[in-house]
Symmetry: C2
Subunit: 421 residues, 2 copies
C-alpha cells in the first residue's frame, strides 16, 4: 500500500500563497489553496483601477484558472474562521480542512492606528472592491460639484486628501492630479476640474521614506509641479465625513483616501502566536511557527528579519520569495532531503510611479527617475502581470492613455438602485 | 438684444437620447442631458459582461466624455422624479430644470407581468450593475457546487434557467453553455462543469419570434447541439429562491435569468399620458405628446406605429432613428423652417448571436447564419461601439477568446466584506 499523500493547505492566494502552491507542483502532495475571493489581485496596480485607468479584470485573474494545470492543486473559495493547531485543521465556511503542512499567506489590511471608525470616511486600497469604491467616490465628487449651488460646498467636493506618503499615496496623488488637470479638464460646463485641490499628507519628514533622500525630493518636486499640495510632517488628528483635522487647522474634503498604515491579517489571532505591533507573526528563520514546524507564515502576515537585522518589507517580491522558499522547505521534508538554510531576502530594488512620465526606481547601485524610470516601471509591471492577454491589454491601454490623456474606465457603478416605476 | 436661446432638456442618455443631443449640435439652443448614470451603456453587449467575456468599461463610456466637444451641451447626473408639463419644468434630484423642448428617452426596464417579487430571484439585464450581479451569480454557482456535499444540491447549483427566448435569452443561454462546457471545463477538481444543465424557457412556440421561422429553427438546433435544453411553449408559473415552477413540474436552479419582458420606464406616469399595455407613451406621428408639441418621447419609452401599422420594435436602431428625427424636428421649429414629414422607421435587419461561431442575421432580402453570421454580427457590434480604443480592445478580446476559449473577466466582486480581524 502506498503511503498517504501529505496534505498541504495554503490560506491566501496573493503573491506568497500562489508561489508556494506553484513550488509544490509535481511533488507527491495534495495542495489545497483557500481564498475568500475567487481571484488573485495584482495589488501594485490597484491604484490604477481606483483612478479609472484600468478595469478590475485587467489586474485580477481567477485563482483556479492560474492553477488549472497543476493537477495536485485544489482551489476552494471559502472564508477561514480559525485554526486548530493541535488537531491540524483549518476551520472554514466550507467546513473543516485538515492538513499536514499549513502555509498562512493572508496578507495585510489597513491600519487606522486605533481609529477603526475612520474606515468609513477614509477607505484604503487593498482589494478590487476598495478600488471601485474609491473610483466611484472620486468620479462622484466631480459630478456633485457640477450640481452644487454653493461655492464652499463646491470647493469641498473638489478637494481630495490622500493620507500617507508611501508608494500608494504618491501614486494616488499623482493619478488624481492627472484626472483633474487633464482627463476631465473639458468634460464639465459649470466647474473647472483644474481648480481641484489634491493634498498629500505625510506624518514623517518626507514622502517615499524607504527610498534614498534624493528620490524623495524628486518625487515631492514632481508632485508639486503636477499641482499636488504635498505636506510632510503633517499627521492627521481626526477624520470625519466632511474632512480631516490636522495639528494646525482643518481641511474640508469630500474624498479622503487612506494610504498610511497596514496591519497584518488575523493570522496571529488564529494561531495564538507571538506578533509584533503591526500584527505580523514572529516566525523562525525557516518561516515556521515556534513549536509548530508544520505551520509556516509568509508574506505581509509574517514578521521576518533579513540578514542585516532589518524587517523584510511587505512587498510583492518578498512575499514571492517566501512562498518559493516555503515550498522548497516542505518539499525537502516530504522527500526527506537535507533541510534548507534560513530564508534570505534578496531585494531587487524599490520603485514607485508618480505620473504619466515620471517614476523613481532604486536598485541601490543604480537610481532611475523621470521618463526612463517610468518606462522601466511600466515594463516591470507588465512583465509581472499574469496572462499574455492582460499584459497586452494593459500595455495597449497605457500607450493609448499616454497619447490621449484618456482614462477609459470612468464608470460610476453600484449607485443605490432607483425605485422601479 | 439677442433672443433667449431655447432650452432643450433630454432625459436619458441611451441610444435615443444621445442621438437627439448630437442632432442639436451647432444649433443655437442650450441642450441639457440628464441621466441617473454617469455612463452610456451599450446594451446589446451587456450579456457579454454578464458572462465574463468583457469588462464593464469596455461597453460603457462617460456621457459627458461623449459630449465633451459639443459646446451647447451640458450633462447632469441626476435622478428625475417628475415633470411639470404646465410649468415646463423637470423635477430632478439636482433641483428643477426648465425647458422649452423636452425629449424623454428613458428606455425600458424588465416586466415580470405583475410578479414584481420575482425580481429578487430572477434578475434581468438592463444596466451594468445587472450584468455584474448576474456574472457573480453564475460564477458563484460553480464555486458553491465545488464545495457542496450533497448531490441534489450540487445539481441545483449547476442548473441555470433562462426565462425568455428572445435575442437576450438566446445569447445568455449560448454563453453560459460555453462557460460550462469549455471555459471552466478544467478549472474544478470535485465537479465537472460540463455536467451543468442550461435550460432556456420560452412561453411561445419558438425562440427568436421576431425572426423568420427557419432562423428560429437554426438557433434552436444550434443551442441544442451546444448542450442547451430548449423548451418552447413552456411558460413559467412561479419563481422563487430555489427554482421555477412550470405548468408541468418544477426545475430546481440556483441561477435564474429574466429575459422575458420589458416595460417602458415611468415616463407615462410622469407625463400623465396615454400608454399601451407595455407602458409605452402613445405619441403623434412626429413623436410629440398629444396637446404638448414641445414634448417628445422616443426609443423604448415610446409607442409608435411604423408605416405598415406595426409597432416600431424596442431596438437600438429604432431609438437612434427617433433621436435623430426629433433633433431635426426641434431644429426646424427653432429655425422656423417647414415642418418634417412623420417619423418613418427603417429597419436595417435583425440579428442575434448564439455562440462562438454562430449567429443569425435577417435583412429580409438576405439571411445569414452560422460562422458568416457570427463574423457579420461581430463586425457590426464593433463598428457601433463608442471609442476607437474600446473597439480595438473588444475586437482583440473576441479574437483572443475565440482562439483560447478563455473569458478574462471572471471576477466575483461585491461579496459582503468580511469582518476585519
Amino acid at each position: 500500500m502506498s503511503p498517504r499523500r501529505p496534505k498541504v493547505v495554503i490560506v491566501g492566494a496573493g503573491f506568497g500563497g500562489l508561489e508556494a502552491a506553484k513550488a509544490l507542483n509535481r511533488l507527491a502532495v495534495d495542495v489545497t489553496v483557500i481564498d475568500r475571493q475567487n481571484h488573485h489581485c495584482f495589488q501594485p496596480l490597484l491604484y490604477q483601477v481606483a483612478t479609472a485607468a484600468l478595469s478590475p479584470a485587467e489586474i485580477a485573474w481567477p485563482i483556479r484558472h492560474i492553477l488549472r494545470q497543476q493537477r495536485n492543486a485544489t482551489v476552494l473559495m471559502a472564508e477561514v474562521s480559525g485554526i486548530d493547531l493541535a488537531g491540524r485543521c483549518v476551520q472554514t465556511s466550507a467546513g473543516p480542512i485538515s492538513y499536514d503542512y499549513l502555509v498562512i499567506a493572508t496578507g495585510a489590511t489597513h491600519s487606522y492606528f486605533g481609529h477603526d471608525d475612520w474606515i468609513d470616511f477614509a477607505p484604503g486600497l487593498k482589494r478590487i472592491e476598495d478600488a471601485t469604491r474609491i473610483r466611484r467616490s472620486i468620479l462622484l465628487a466631480f459630478e456633485h460639484a457640477e450640481l452644487a449651488h454653493d461655492d464652499a460646498e463646491r470647493q469641498r467636493l473638489l478637494t481630495f486628501v490622500i493620507v500617507g506618503g508611501g508608494a500608494t499615496g504618491v501614486e494616488m496623488a499623482g493619478a488624481i492630479a492627472e484626472i483633474a488637470r487633464q482627463t476631465l479638464a473639458k468634460d464639465f460646463r459649470r466647474i473647472d476640474p483644474r481648480s481641484s485641490r489634491i493634498i498629500l499628507l505625510e506624518a514623517g519628514p518626507r514622502v517615499l521614506p524607504t527610498l534614498p533622500e534624493d528620490l524623495s525630493r524628486y518625487a515631492e518636486h514632481t508632485l508639486t509641479r503636477m499641482g499636488v499640495d504635498v505636506r510632510t510632517s503633517t499627521p492627521v488628528i481626526n477624520c470625519d465625513r466632511r474632512g480631516v483635522d490636522l495639528d494646525r487647522g482643518r481641511i474640508d474634503a469630500s474624498t479622503i483616501i487612506w494610504a498610511a498604515g497596514v496591519v497584518a491579517s488575523p493570522a496571529a489571532r488564529w494561531l495564538g502566536a507571538e506578533h509584533d505591533r503591526a500584527g505580523r507573526v514572529l516566525v523562525r528563520p525557516d518561516l515556521s511557527l515556534p513549536d509548530h514546524p508544520e505551520v509556516f507564515v509568509i508574506g505581509d502576515a509574517a514578521g521576518v528579519h533579513d540578514q542585516t537585522g532589518a524587517m523584510v518589507p511587505g512587498v510583492a517580491q518578498a512575499a514571492k520569495q517566501m512562498g518559493r522558499y516555503v515550498g522548497r522547505v516542505i518539499a525537502a521534508r516530504v522527500d526527506e532531503t537535507p533541510s534548507l538554510p534560513p530564508f534570505r531576502y534578496r531585494s531587487f530594488g524599490d520603485l514607485a510611479t508618480i505620473g504619466r512620465r515620471a517614476a523613481v526606481v532604486n536598485f541601490g547601485y543604480l537610481r532611475l527617475k523621470g521618463f526612463v524610470g517610468w518606462l522601466f516601471w511600466s515594463l516591470v509591471h507588465i512583465y509581472f502581470l499574469i496572462g499574455v492577454k492582460n499584459r497586452f491589454i494593459v500595455a495597449f491601454t497605457w500607450l493609448w492613455d499616454y497619447l490621449t490623456f484618456h482614462r477609459g474606465a470612468r464608470l460610476i457603478t453600484e449607485v443605490p438602485p432607483p425605485g422601479r416605476g
